[in-house]
């Protein structure tokens, strides 16, 4: 009998002998993967939403006087010294006045008696579109307020801060559910293997007396942990995909809801989650084998 064939046969026997416990373990592994992946998916989607939001995010620094072209490189360098940005645009009074006129459209005639001097010159700064830079907007804004001639810095401050707090909360939830995943899968698989070892105590004793090698006895139990990992995590991921498909059809849409246009994990990320879960299940069974087996 080839070794692999034997080990698979023996694993099958083990599964048959304790199928109730095996199902409970599978359920726990699936649920843990589902919970963790669920929060991770929310986090990933929030980041994506943040990206979309930051496309239109700009910090506008209103100035009391226009920046002459010779000064612009110095101002630009000063801004870049604090943080890398995507774009810096210097807006003169005249340009601001023209924009305002366009925005008014048909009612632009109200500006006929007025001149560009009513509009303050400004600098429009587009920050980089990642969460790290978004979360530092407050500090960045405070810094921009110290630029020479700066009167006021404007951006969607409250909204961005709330968004930042919410993202942080989800990030903490992802970390906690990750810890839950590690603990639950590791513990459950380890516990199941322990039960198997206890249930097979007499058999293991006889195998020991027959001169069974350590790999002969341990490999089926390792395969058992491996299988729990493969089936449990794949099932958890499949459940999440079903949940995603269901939710995506209802939450995605035009307008404001477009901000929450849901996306699923990339195949690489999904595979990584499954592989990590498999590794943890196999690790859990290895720890149990080392701890409880005498062979």
């Amino acid at each position: 009998m080839s070794r692999l064939k034997y080990h698979i046969k023996q694993t099958w026997r083990n599964l048959g002998q304790s199928w109730g416990t095996q199902i409970m373990t599978l359920f726990t592994v699936s649920l843990s993967v589902l919970i963790f992946s669920f929060f991770l998916l929310i986090y990933v989607n929030i980041l994506a939403a943040g990206d979309r939001f930051s496309d239109e995010l700009r910090l506008v620094v209103y100035l009391d006087h226009e920046v002459v072209p010779e000064m612009q490189p110095q101002i630009r360098k000063k801004i870049m010294d604090f943080s890398e940005v995507e774009n810096i645009v210097f807006v003169s009074r005249k340009e601001a006045f023209e924009r305002f006129r366009k925005q008014l459209g048909k009612n632009s005639d109200v500006l006929d008696d007025l001149g560009p001097e009513i509009m303050p010159p400004s600098i429009e700064v587009s920050p980089l579109r990642d969460l790290e830079h978004l979360s530092q907007l407050k500090e960045f804004s405070d810094y921009l307020a110290t630029l020479p001639g700066a009167l006021k810095v404007q951006y969607g401050q409250n909204w961005v801060e709330r968004f930042g707090h919410f993202t942080e909360l989800v990030r903490m939830t992802v970390i906690m559910s990750g810890v839950l995943l590690v603990m639950a899968t590791g513990f459950m698989v380890s516990y199941t293997i322990r039960l198997t070892v206890v249930a097979k105590d007499a058999e293991l004793e006889i195998l020991r007396l027959l001169g069974a090698s350590s790999s002969y006895v341990q490999t089926p139990l390792l395969i058992e942990g491996l299988m729990q990992g493969i089936i449990g995590s794949t099932l958890g991921m499949a459940l999440l995909y079903a949940l995603y498909t269901w939710a995506a059809g209802r939450l995605s849409g035009p307008g404001f809801l477009r901000l929450f246009d849901l996306t699923f994990f990339s195949p690489l990320t999904a595979c990584a989650i499954i592989l990590v879960s498999i590794a943890m299940c196999t690790g859990g069974s290895l720890i149990a084998i080392r701890k409880y087996m005498r062979i």
Binding site: Y6, I206, L210, G211, S213, S214
Partner: protein, 260 residues
């Protein structure tokens, strides 16, 4: 003059007289440096001045010495509690002696590492007095275990298990759970498991204790065939019917010591 049992001389492996010089240990040191080829010529089982004491102070064996040649079959007799089972357990590395030396296949069992003990046990087929069979496994599964441990091909396992079960008239019960069998049948399963692999050494502890004379004859026939095939066999028994008139060596244990 060595004692004679069953027509063959009892050869103690060492001079066990009180005060005799302990030359055996020197010999053992020398033998350890012998080549593998020379090992083949040495006793397959060599028990030298072995003492085994169970807690608190129950002396199971005291300064026991015994040599069994490769391919020899011997009967170890004596009353219950004489130390027969203990000696078999020591030879199979189930237990360790408090004193003395045990060599199996030319190797000091006290110095064997975990992997080496596993290898040694793969060469030993032991039929336990308490059977040590798995009641929920079928007869076939129980008997197949020693061959599975060696990853033998499935077809070979099937053929050999059927052959041994047939020899012991147990083939018709091979698919039954072993726990459903009578004690005599369970004993035959234990014997079949010990014999299935044609091991180099068979240790049988009271193999006919629960068997009638007809089945006992079958068991002895199986052992004889294995012995003729090269297996070394040690049978611990107090059933005189299986060794009376035998041409094999018979040694007697009493209160943990060999007697003349």
């Amino acid at each position: 003059m060595p004692a004679v049992h069953g027509g063959r001389p009892f050869r103690p492996a060492a001079d066990v007289r009180p005060g005799a010089p302990d030359t055996d240990f020197d010999n053992k040191v020398r033998l350890h440096f012998m080549s593998e080829q020379n090992r083949e010529n040495r006793p397959f089982v060599d028990v030298v001045k072995v003492t085994k004491v169970y807690s608190p102070d129950i002396v199971a064996l005291q300064d026991v010495s015994l040599s069994v040649d490769r391919g020899e079959m011997i009967f170890l007799t004596g009353m219950s509690g004489a130390g027969k089972s203990t000696l078999l357990k020591l030879i199979s590395c189930m237990e360790r002696p408090n004193k003395g030396l045990i060599e199996v296949a030319g190797r000091d069992t006290a110095k064997l590492k975990k992997g080496e003990i596993q290898e040694l046990r793969q060469q030993i087929g032991m039929a336990y007095q308490d059977f040590k069979i798995l009641p929920r496994h079928t007869v076939f599964q129980n008997v197949a275990m020693p061959m599975e441990v060696l990853y033998r091909p499935g077809r070979e396992i099937k053929e050999r298990v059927n052959e041994v079960l047939e020899a012991l008239r147990m083939d018709h019960k091979k698919n039954l759970p072993a726990g459903k069998l009578s004690r005599g049948e369970q004993q035959r399963v234990a014997i079949a498991r010990a014999a299935v692999n044609r091991p180099a050494l068979i240790l049988a502890d009271e193999p006919t204790g629960n068997l009638d004379s007809e089945i006992s004859t079958l068991v002895m026939k199986l052992f004889t065939e294995l012995n003729e095939g090269g297996s070394t066999i040690i049978i611990a028994t107090h059933d005189s019917s299986i060794y009376e008139g035998t041409s094999h060596r018979v040694v007697r244990l009493e209160h943990g010591m060999f007697t003349a």
